[in-house]
Subunit: 130 residues, 2 copies
């Protein structure tokens, strides 16, 4: 935390800030490689882990066990995810900011970010289910 950021951390932080979407470690690895700016996969994971602990980076776990990383500066982004087909629809609403402040006080917990995801059946899968 008091630690100086490494070069890799700074590179990744910069990329995530430019990019306006969440990206997986694997994808980051592939993209960097294609751009001839390769970075070892282990380094990518280690950097993301460090940035996460510093609160620079948010993580969202997909139902398949893959982690998606994005800059903490990114706006809240939540989703409706279909448990059947996996389709994920981004939504704009987010009703939890007040609660966040409240939790920081009652639990003396410094909240970096939150994840809010809805799971169920998309309209297509509801039809297919009949």
């Amino acid at each position: 935390m008091t630690n100086n950021p490494t070069r890799s951390q700074m590179r990744i932080d910069r990329i995530l800030k430019r990019l306006n979407r969440a990206i997986s470690a694997q994808e980051l690895y592939t993209e960097l490689r294609q751009a001839n700016q390769s970075m070892g996969l282990a380094t990518i994971y280690r950097s993301l882990e460090a940035l996460k602990i510093q609160g620079q980076v948010q993580v969202r776990m997909l139902p398949n066990g893959e982690a998606l990383y994005s800059s903490a500066q990114q706006q809240d982004q939540h989703h409706l995810t279909c448990v059947n087909c996996g389709t994920s629809i981004p939504i704009d609403e987010c009703p939890v900011h007040n609660l966040e402040t409240e939790l920081e006080n009652t639990h003396k917990f410094k909240v970096y970010y939150h994840t809010l995801e809805f799971f169920g059946l998309c309209s297509l899968c509801q039809l297919a289910a009949e």
Copy 2:
């Protein structure tokens, strides 16, 4: 969906309903084995998948990529999770029910359940960070 539940699905559904907490597939496997009611790991995963699609079971992904399953009848349970030490504190509050109904209407999406998790630093890790 129109499918009849298998024996395994019914067994697992029953267990999850009794149990008042979320459990991983691996733990379920171990517990059943110890209770001399073994079930193959593949069957456990397949049953959980089916129950999930039917909306009988909720899933929450842990930051380590492990999935925690619980009965859909279970009450909402959300957490404050420390990005540093991994400690997870259950919280009671949940401000998203109205939104859920709203989303069902605007997106024609049948919401089974949602996950809401807060990430940051617990009080201890805040101290350690200085």
